[in-house]
Symmetry: D2
Subunit: 335 residues, 4 copies
């Protein structure tokens, strides 16, 4: 961390400030120019609150050099983390596809889709029981009942299940869930992050609509700092000025995340684009970008879907995409 002091900061003030900084267990190197004094802070600055330093009247600017995340940082943990979901490993050499309906609607629907996606090669079943919706007047998910249907599908098809947690108070209901999803709108719901950090099921953390890569990693750090290091990151599109697609899928972020962190990174092309015909090219592009997995919406009857039908693939279309996904993954493994 570099602290740039304002011109004419008195020597005594500088000395006093340096003494304070040393309390953080940091070495401080002073570089005195004609107009500018720079302080270089060396050591673990992740606990240093930049805003506290910026508050000093004699500080002109603070520049962070070291990343503020530690547990998620590949520098301190070079090997890929492999997260076990049920008995399915994700990360490292293990590429996996999560598929299923946006919302759980009936037991029959979810069981049927589960069988179909399993047959096509998906390793995990997704399905929403608690649904975050922009409007209070739209379908909010079947809740506990939906969770029950999902658990039934898990048994029938033998696939681990992933579903979204919207509130800490629902955690007791999530005992049979294998992977807890934190949705994009809750990426900085810090209390929820801490709550899932204090339990031991793996967590699928989706990137917020307007969150930077660093904020994304800091939210993973929240979970990890509480003790749960089984975090999977999911890029699902960010919000930009473009209106032809639901969001703008940021695939370069996937490649960059793979460099910055050891955690698995997956991609959700369904939510990112909102256009089912873009699911195939974006799935293949995500593999090329280095993704450890995909999360794809599949519905056996998108026209009757209670939510997000238009972005879902039908099972037969999904099976066709899966075939290309598998070939593409195999190709890149040998490239």
């Amino acid at each position: 961390m570099i602290v740039i002091l304002k011109e004419n900061t008195p020597k005594e003030v500088q000395e006093q400030f340096i003494a304070q900084l040393k309390q953080y267990q940091l070495e401080v190197h002073r570089s005195q120019g004609v107009h500018t004094t720079l302080l270089g802070l060396v050591g673990d600055t992740s606990a240093v609150d930049v805003s506290k330093i910026e508050s000093q009247s004699f500080v002109q600017e603070v520049k962070r050099i070291q990343e503020p995340y530690k547990k998620a940082n590949r520098k301190f943990h070079p090997a890929d983390t492999v997260v076990e979901v049920g008995e399915v490993p994700i990360g490292g050499d293990h590429f996996q596809v999560i598929a299923g309906p946006c919302s759980v609607e009936t037991e029959k629907q979810v069981c049927q889709v589960a069988e179909q996606v399993k047959k096509a090669g998906a390793a995990l079943l997704r399905g929403g029981a608690f649904k975050p919706r922009t409007s209070p007047y739209n379908f909010q998910g079947l809740g506990e009942q939906g969770l029950g249907f999902l658990v039934q599908a898990k048994k029938t098809a033998g696939l681990p299940i992933v579903t979204e947690l919207m509130s800490e108070e629902d955690l007791p209901l999530f005992a049979p869930v294998d992977l807890i999803q934190i949705g994009a709108r809750n990426m900085q719901n810090f209390r929820l992050l801490k709550a899932v950090g204090r339990q031991n099921k793996p967590v699928l953390l989706k990137r917020g609509l307007a969150n930077t890569i660093e904020e994304f990693l800091m939210s993973a750090e929240y979970i990890m700092a509480e003790g749960n290091e089984n975090v999977i990151l999911c890029e699902r599109g960010i919000r930009t000025f473009e209106t032809k697609m639901r969001n703008t899928l940021d695939l370069a972020a996937v490649s960059l995340l793979k460099e910055l962190t050891h955690l698995p990174v997956i991609v959700d092309p369904s939510h990112a684009t909102g256009l089912p015909r873009l699911v195939e090219p974006m799935s293949l592009a995500a593999i090329a970008a280095g993704a450890d997995g995909l999360m794809i919406e599949v519905h056996n009857n998108p026209e009757k879907a209670l939510c997000d039908g238009p972005q879902s693939l039908r099972p037969e279309a999904f099976a066709a995409v899966m075939e290309k996904i598998q070939k593409t993954k195999a190709f890149f493994q040998t490239l």
Copy 2:
């Protein structure tokens, strides 16, 4: 709502779909062109799930005409809502300033700032006890203890207090709080919105960093739909590509919100810009834009602030700004 059907949608399919739509208590008007068939849906479409309609294979596009919010909509409630916070009214003819430190740090600090902002003309005291921070390693607020200090300041200075709620489970602690703040990062934490909608203290809802005006109103609608209609909206800057300021303050949104909704709308220039020297011009501009109040950070010792010190005004600077705020408000009332 207008539904545009794909070319060559068979008459029977159209008839069947129209019959389904009528179940929402809507009138349906069909307009048959050479290539396009339009269906105009007349009635209360706020409960219609656009994505369900878009899922139909024969639907090309759906365009909403009516706003999806009802309780927050000025069309159905033309008079300004006045929200009573403690005994302080906000909205309609009542313009108010909320001031205080970003974080509650000590009882002395918050009591002292409370006295000072009251003397300068602030009507409510703000102060954070539970703090949403990007890093788990930064100061997270004093929590329950901080809330106690704030309550002490409330007694000493005789100002109603506003503070942020980060989790429904803290609600019992909020009994002495007069106005519950929902932070920008929780604007679409729908479970938290429902929770504050089920209790009867007024709610200060901050706009999310990347949320549209319509999503902002839909989040207010979530609270109102649960029974609590005492919602104050707060514009606090949105996230853009600009890096010289913390956020981009959207004052045109204030004028537009005043037209779309009857709820009070206030502005937080401290968080919006992150630059204390912009607090004065942006406060005055907010009044010109029609804001019903302001929320300003004041710290008696910004250099020692445990959080967001750099954007705080000192009490004497705040007093000077308040004088201009009051004169400006008086000017615009007679313009």
Copy 3:
């Protein structure tokens, strides 16, 4: 400028690099930490090409401290610049309103509007002859003929005129024009900037839709570096995710620009919002933010406008807004 070197950069490489840097007439201060070596560059770094330094394999990061603009920088030119347009001064104590139709359509139309806006208090007449339109199939302006009508209106009403230049090759036609506008889409058309920098008419430079404040000032610097220091900046809204308004008006940028530069800064609320009913509040808010002027679209028959009719005010509505603008400006002058 601070250059952060990678760990383990050999001493000789450092020495050689420092020698190179000194060729820019800079002092170089080295600060050696355990892991990091910082070089502080002191002097005029505006000519230093950051990307060249970043290209060195041993450089980790470069941080600019000094602003890269000089002629536009208030630090080196503390007094407000007053730009004379015809005989109308803008900047410093001189607040002015520019008004007129988006496009020049007929001689009668523009002369009539000119008389009306003059009567209401506008000091300059605007009108587009060459129109930048998204579609090649939409009305592109009357061109040279339109310029002729505008010149006629200038004579009739006795107002200096401002109109947009889209290509250097049209400059000879602009002899009777008093203020040359460079549109938002050409803010980084560097050849056009150089061309208007080489002639001596004042220039109205509009901020690009996605350009930062620093890029905006660098584009002014382009004009000034060629010798023409009569540049007026115009904030006209930036592009964000919000769709209810044409753009997001960034009024905090106005206050910040007034601090960073000595050049006059005006605001165009018509293009910024696209909603005529927001012109009044945003005009008054712009004055509060410190703007030196406003640019407002007025059309005597918006329904017949060949372009941008929906955002224009009728002359009588403009006169009502002008009255409030004048009172508001007078109020803030005494505040």
Copy 4:
């Protein structure tokens, strides 16, 4: 196009308006609801100026259904366009890589890089002679001399050349150039678009930093409407809030563009990310997304580059990436 009239628009006004609309050679279908009257406009609406219709006082809203571009529209031209650059075809079954230095610096440099990229498999040579730079104080390119060096390299290596045109007045110098590049900052420099539309060399049009996909296609339409239908589109990243990369590469836009238009679409991963280590994964991902080509910066000595050195690959790194590009392209051709 659908026009929604305000409630209570008198029948006579409606009739008169419909008569006006029919002058555009459109059929007009009226749908009368209880509160709303809809007019459906059928026919070629690309020449209809939406803002003119919105200006009518009785019009509530206008919704376009048909795309406003015709010549670029795949609907009216289903087969892929193949653009011939020199003797190199791009588009359809022809995937090509364009490579070379950001700026032309010396004859030796560009000739050497040309040989190297040709050997590695590039089909075209890029190199900037006229450089758009944010700062007037940074290297602006060698201009005409640089063009000469590039032409020399073309002869030596036998590769067609592509370079950026910044002003119409330089067109005479571009006689030996094979593909004229219009840079991102000039994407809506409509006069320049018209100028390259009136000549017959193929044009490489880069997407603007904050331009939508529709605006991108409308800019291609500007060129095509003047008679030059040889346009290649280039996605090079858009501007968002993310700061870790230079821009956000929008690969979903590539897949969507391939659906909307018959024109070839290529990707520039060097400018999009600004990080040379992301060039490989983003090149492969672009192929997966359906790109017809890539544009990659290669410099034989990035540390000495006069511009954009940090994002360039060295020739040997480029050769390694090219091998993977070729294998990946071959794989996807058979998938």
